[in-house]
């Protein structure tokens, strides 16, 4: 499993205020929304190949999807006006809006959608990024321009999540892409303006630098509040914050707690917390094996003992982690699915939570026969090996580094020694698949549909005997869990499905194999003088906003603020001119001084 550096999130938007003064005039009275590009960057503009968040942020703006998502993560209309299921739950019929046109004027029809989905279903290359979303599709047809019929092999509850902004499949114009289907692998999709449909049109893009958009005034879900949008890439969030402070950016999604705290005081800025859509936690290699049950890897045998795993859970103080590592800007972890999607969240029943209790941890280990050796490290009575465990952490994740320091400290007090290994993502994943690890720091984010995330804990995710394939995180495999997994897939009733999903999370919680530490809040910051409405929804009692689909609704609904920006900008411009002038003057003076001194002494020196 892997962490998404900047997570996915959905949001609904509520437009506020009327458009007024420009935040950054780029024409006569035209307005531009300037935001930081997702930290992951854009890997490719080819939506069949792209994996990175940054790319899907762009696609959400420029390619349509069948459905949209509201702020609770429920599917809503977009291209599709309405949809129905057949009684056997195997056939879905979508009615598409009439009269929508691609940016080059060609009408958008059901055939475009059918072609896109069929390509992904049939062509391996086209399925590179999103093949799994349609793996259960039997056929997709477009009987007429406004009707799309999807037949699934087995009943599938989440068909309306398959094509949604950011986490689902973007629909591309068939007339443009048809000719590229042959060499899809090498198609960079970089002729601008990009032919597409969405709130925006991509007019220019420079890798690692920026993407520029024009607003689509006729967008079906509402007209964007700005005339243009620029997404600018910053490697360092601090640099982006500096740009924001000096008025070169309007909005940043995904800052860290320190930055958040530092910016809270700035009255020009609005800091925003959103409910987290991912988890950070510890995975335990309790029993690495292949699908056929063959043992693999070098995991510590004692981890197979639930007592040891539970002791580790008891020795983890989630409250302190939230307070120290995330500055309090996170929710203590328990259930496997993040709080951003409240329909799936699960909490242990009162009394069933694992508390932070070092004494208890010591006690159960002692009782189970793990006695301390001379160096204070307990010894596994079965294998005779001391409880010295490797903890793999991500090299590029500051949270991992922070948490691991705490874990090390706590586990030491219960007689378990940690050896922290910092690994690159690839190295970590390579070790993971081979089972060559004991403990791993990990994290996942997820969109509103939990199927994929739950799926990685099934037996089917274990690797094959030859070491290939496999998608597992912790080699978890439980019959009951698998049974429930299959059941929820075909459960169309939301409440019933949530119950099953909850049961599954309960199994995971008790197994102590995936120990959730926290679900960190998404932290954003926006300039109050240039933009309003980029964050939508109502904050809860703790001031937390619902998870935002910022790249879609947020940017669509954002409008220029009425504040007097120009004055502020001029002031800072004048300041900088003053500064530069001063420096230049100083240099000239110094240079002149040196020259003069030299002249005067030229004769009598040797």
């Amino acid at each position: 499993g892997v962490t998404l550096p900047a997570g996915t999130a959905t949001a609904t938007a509520s437009s506020s205020g009327s458009a007024a003064a420009a935040s950054a005039p780029s024409g006569q009275g035209e307005t531009t929304l300037r935001v930081k590009m997702s930290g992951s960057g854009v890997d490719t503009l080819n939506p069949f190949l792209a994996f990175f968040d940054g790319a899907y942020d762009v696609f959400a703006g420029v390619y349509p999807t069948l459905n949209s998502l509201d702020e609770q993560g429920s599917p809503g209309p977009y291209l599709a006006e309405s949809w129905t299921q057949s009684d056997d739950k195997l056939t879905w019929t979508f009615t598409l809006r009439d009269g929508l046109k691609w940016s080059d004027g060609t009408p958008i029809t059901a055939e475009d959608a059918a072609w896109t989905l069929n390509l992904i279903m049939t062509d391996a290359v086209a399925g590179t990024a999103n093949g799994s979303l349609v793996s259960n599709f039997e056929s997709v047809t477009a009987p007429d321009a406004t009707t799309l019929v999807i037949k699934t092999k087995e009943p599938q509850a989440n068909v309306t999540y398959v094509s949604v902004p950011r986490s689902g499949i973007p629909i591309v114009p068939k007339h443009i892409w048809e000719s590229q289907a042959k060499n899809l692998k090498d198609y960079k999709n970089d002729t601008f303006p990009l032919v597409g449909y969405g709130p925006w049109t991509l007019t220019d893009y420079k890798p690692e630098q920026y993407a520029k958009f024009d607003a689509n005034k006729d967008f079906v879900l509402g007209k964007p509040g700005f005339d243009h949008m620029v997404q600018q890439s910053f490697k360092s969030v601090d640099a982006a914050v500096a740009a924001l402070r000096s008025g070169q950016l309007d909005y940043i999604h995904g800052i860290n707690p320190t930055q958040f705290k530092a910016l809270q005081a700035d009255k020009n800025l609005q800091t925003i917390q959103e409910v987290g859509n991912g988890w950070t936690g510890l995975e335990i290699n309790y029993n690495a094996r292949t699908r056929t049950g063959k043992k693999i890897g070098t995991g510590h045998p004692a981890l197979g003992d639930p007592v040891v795993r539970h002791a580790i859970a008891l020795a983890t103080d989630r409250k302190t982690l939230v307070a120290k590592v995330r500055d309090g800007l996170a929710v203590e972890g328990a259930g496997y699915l993040p709080p951003a999607w409240p329909q799936w969240t699960w909490k242990p029943a009162p009394g069933e939570e694992t508390p932070f209790d070092l004494d208890q941890a010591n006690k159960i280990l002692e009782d189970a026969g793990y006695t301390k050796g001379g160096d204070g490290v307990r010894v596994d009575p079965k294998s005779g090996k001391p409880l010295e465990l490797r903890l793999g952490i991500h090299a590029d994740d500051t949270d991992d580094a922070g948490i691991s320091n705490y874990l090390k400290g706590w586990l030491e007090t219960v007689g378990i020694k940690l050896k922290i290994q910092t690994l690159s993502m690839s190295a970590l994943n390579s070790d993971l698949a081979k089972g060559d690890w004991d403990l791993l720091m990990d994290g996942w984010t997820t969109g509103p549909d939990p199927t994929f995330l739950l799926g990685i804990q099934t037996c089917a995710a274990l690797p094959k005997d030859d070491g290939t394939a496999g998608n597992t995180d912790s080699f978890f495999c439980d019959e009951k869990y698998d049974e429930l997994f299959n059941k929820q897939r075909t459960t169309f009733d939301q409440a019933e499905r949530a119950k099953i999903v909850g049961e599954m999370q309960s199994i995971l919680y008790k197994a102590d194999v995936n120990q959730m530490h926290f679900n960190h809040n998404m932290l954003d910051v926006a300039r109050t003088d240039t933009v309003t409405g980029v964050v939508t929804g109502q904050p809860d009692a703790q001031g937390m906003y619902p998870a935002q689909s910022y790249a879609f609704w947020g940017y669509l609904k954002a409008t220029p603020a009425t504040a007097k920006v120009t004055a502020a900008k001029e002031e800072s411009g004048g300041g900088s001119a003053l500064w530069i002038g001063g420096v230049v003057l100083l240099v000239i003076l110094a240079g002149g001084g040196i020259a003069l001194k030299r002249r005067s002494g030229a004769d009598d020196r040797e």
Binding site: S236, V237, D238, V241, A242, I255, N256, P257, T258, Q259, K261, A262, L263, T320, K324, V325, D327, I393, A395, D396, T398, D400, A401, G402, S404, N405, Y406, K408, G409, W410, T413, I420, Q421, T422, L423, S424, A427
Partner: protein, 298 residues
Amino acid sequence: MSALDTPAGLDVPRHHAFSRFCRAFAKRPAGLAGLGLLVAFGVLALAAPLFIGDDQLNVIKVDGPQLSPPVDGYPLGTDQAGRSVLLLVIWGARESLSIGLIATALTVVLGSTVGLLAGHYQGWIGKILMHVTDWFIALPSLPLAISLSAVLGQGAASITIAIAVTSWTATARLVRAQTLSVEARPFIERAKVLGAGNTQIMIRHVLPNVMPLILVSSTLTVASAILSEATLTFLGLGDPTSVTWGSMLQAAFLGGAVTAGAWWYLMPPGIAILIVVLGFTLVGRAVEHVLNPRMVGR
């Protein structure tokens, strides 16, 4: 850059070479200042365990304010976990210095051996060694170090090796050049006529004469090794859980200290690096001056 010529005139009264060296060194204020800085840091680093307890650095035991500017009891403020930045900087000296010193030791051993052999055996052995050195010189050191520590896995050990692998060429080239110049001097011929073989010549005659240069170059190597360590760690190739100056800066940088304006977190490790690197450079240059009379007066 011959460091061989006899120091300071022909008429130095009989004295042991070392005390002569010390006295000459003592006359260079910059070198003494550098040495002073290094000794101060060295003592602090060595003595750190005496006055820094586990409860001051272990995140689960500290209870300072988080990322706070200097306050009572925390003269240089605290980091995100509430540890005293001052203590961290002192503790960081231990690992930063030892990475620097170990990397240098590796560099010097590898570089001097190759350089000495390449300079002494001017046949095919020398040629091959020289070519190998040249090839390695063509490898850009920072990308190579990055790649190596990416390959070897994260952490102090691989950074140390990466630094050594990328910096031995400079030493080798220097030592080779110096070996060649020593080998061209008449006393080598005299030793040959007296019956000395290759090993004896290398060990008894060339090495002692190349040694001062190696000494100089190794102090400078320590300086750049410490810089490299910081850079590699900053780029995320180090061990973020260990306390080194590089990892402190990385944590500060990634943790948003710039935005928070946490100068007390950013400045001390940087200044510590500056001081130690400067110290080694000053000492190196002073030693060079002392050993190389041509540089007298610089």
